[in-house]
Symmetry: C2
Subunit: 331 residues, 2 copies
């Protein structure tokens, strides 16, 4: 069924090399011959065999993406952006889900490394050493994680937390609870650090309520801590936790925002759909995905260019109905 370059060459009455050249270096081929060749290509529906091309060029035209968990609403948005951008650039996307398991992630990474031109790691849980080893196999770009010697697309988590704290302070709160996420998470640490710094800067008390799984259940579990600490406002590690918290608070009859203000992080679609709609900090997922592809392409073109880290992408506070002026004075 497959039509090869030789078929095209024969049809056009030229050699295979010329057809090949017409495709890869059009300027090195006579305009007339090129036109004729193109015509035959279109007519025969010729598509170059990628395996054969890849065998000789060493390029696959594929880009690998490994995410921690596709079921987490954070990741599909990143993947979607990556796939779209890659497609624009003529690359196809290989996707793998590590299930938050570093061992699985390592295995997948090595497997993919052999069949892609570069790898994007999202929510990577790999130790720096593994990352470095991987880097020797193929170009790697990290999304929302920093590691020495590896390119990454960073987002200003700390500033996002700062904006959230500032918002809560503007509403009059003097004490703010922080519902933490998984301790291993890069974002968690940055967000916590940002919240701490902001608490100091804005002269308010930050009550750290513990670390919870980044899930709806985790958020529900955090509700008791929030109640016990009697904080009038809470910043959560992410939206999913915030929604779990919201759910449980409402079930307890605690008014949001009347009794407790809640702020999430990420601005996943969920946040706008919660009731009351969740105030949150937007994490530029689509932008991050695009940039990751762009950086990867640059790396593929120049494998050992100096990796100048761009400044982190900005985050943005999105105020919705889950925060508001406190109904009663909060001291």
């Amino acid at each position: 069924v497959a039509v090869t370059i030789t078929d095209v060459a024969r049809a056009a009455g030229v050699s295979a090399s010329t057809v090949s050249r017409a495709l890869s270096r059009p300027e090195r081929v006579d305009a007339a011959t090129r036109a004729a060749i193109m015509e035959h290509i279109a007519r025969l529906g010729y598509q170059p065999n990628r395996a054969a091309r890849s065998l000789i060029t060493g390029r696959t035209g594929n880009l690998g993406v490994i995410v921690a968990d596709l079921a987490n609403p954070f990741y599909p948005d990143v993947v979607k952006a990556i796939q779209n951008r890659a497609h624009q650039r003529g690359l196809t996307t290989l996707l793998a889900d590590s299930g938050e398991d570093p061992a699985a992630e390592l295995e997948l990474a090595h497997q993919l490394a052999a069949q892609v031109d570069g790898l994007v790691l999202c929510g990577a849980g790999l130790p720096d050493a593994d990352l470095l080893a991987l880097r020797r196999l193929c170009p790697v770009v990290l999304v929302n994680r920093e590691s020495a010697g590896i390119a990454s697309v960073l987002v200003d988590n700390a500033d996002g937390a700062r904006q959230a704290v500032r918002h809560l302070r503007a509403l009059g709160h003097q004490r703010i609870g922080y519902v933490g996420g998984p301790p291993a998470s890069h974002s968690h640490r940055q967000r916590l650090a940002g919240a701490r710094a902001a608490a100091e800067a804005f002269r308010l008390e930050l009550v750290e309520l513990g670390e919870f799984p980044a899930s709806f259940e985790g958020g529900m579990a955090a509700a008791d801590s929030v109640l016990l600490a009697e904080v009038p406002a809470v910043l959560c590690y992410n939206d999913v936790i915030a929604i779990g918290l919201l759910h449980r608070l409402v079930a307890y009859g605690v008014g949001v925002p009347a009794d407790v203000s809640v702020v999430g992080f990420d601005d996943v679609a969920l946040a706008a759909m919660a009731y009351p709609a969740l105030t949150t900090v937007r994490f530029p997922r689509a932008r991050a995905g695009q940039l990751a592809v762009d950086r990867l392409q640059a790396l593929i073109a120049q494998p050992d260019a100096a990796l100048d880290q761009a400044p982190p992408l900005p985050t943005e506070l999105v105020v919705r109905q889950s925060t508001g002026r406190p109904a009663r004075p909060t001291t």
Copy 2:
């Protein structure tokens, strides 16, 4: 950097063919030599070059997945299951997102067809004719869509709708509204048909409230129709619409389920997180994804085996808090 089969062969003191055989047909190689070869393979970290292998076998070891929209919470779950299963089977997954655009889908499908052993189409919007043409290029499996001559993994949407209607009827409702989804959708038609049949069977009135985009906004837009029709219970095309409706109803001060019972469809994670938690019909996404891979593998092995369609996968009613006994008689 790359270690080839020849390197392994030389190290083991055998020919390349023997190494190749040791990998693909271990039983045709002496146990001792095989062991020695395996040892060298492990020591040298040899990984077969897939391009070279693919060039000769015609197999890529890749499986393509095209989804309508990754940002729709329905799809990531399917993709995750597909990728997991594929990985178990030693296949890698190429992912593409068509953005609900049939033209883009067609282009992606043809592009992917050339570099995969088979294609899974999820939420396919392609005309039957295009599907058939595609089928000639490579094995294709459809998820939740039926088309003559093409293998598919079907789900019993009609029965899901029936279960939902039955539930509402059991609660005492005599009139039920149906908030439809996109008219082009296969699921929409099946669910509507199921609801109609069930309405007749259970002797109640089904009020069709129109067709809406399958989005949160679509659901919000449907709220007015629900109010105007004064129906005490509503079945929605899917969860996302149901959540939008819920949101708007609550904002209007309409109690759910006190004043109106609401049922969604799909059981996306969102449904459990809504407040009140959404009663819905579970669509077996993970199972469907797995089955799609299994069927695709069967097709790859025997391209023109008779395609015996398995019975549709069952759906299951999940009762949560958005439905309940009506507070007042509903006549």
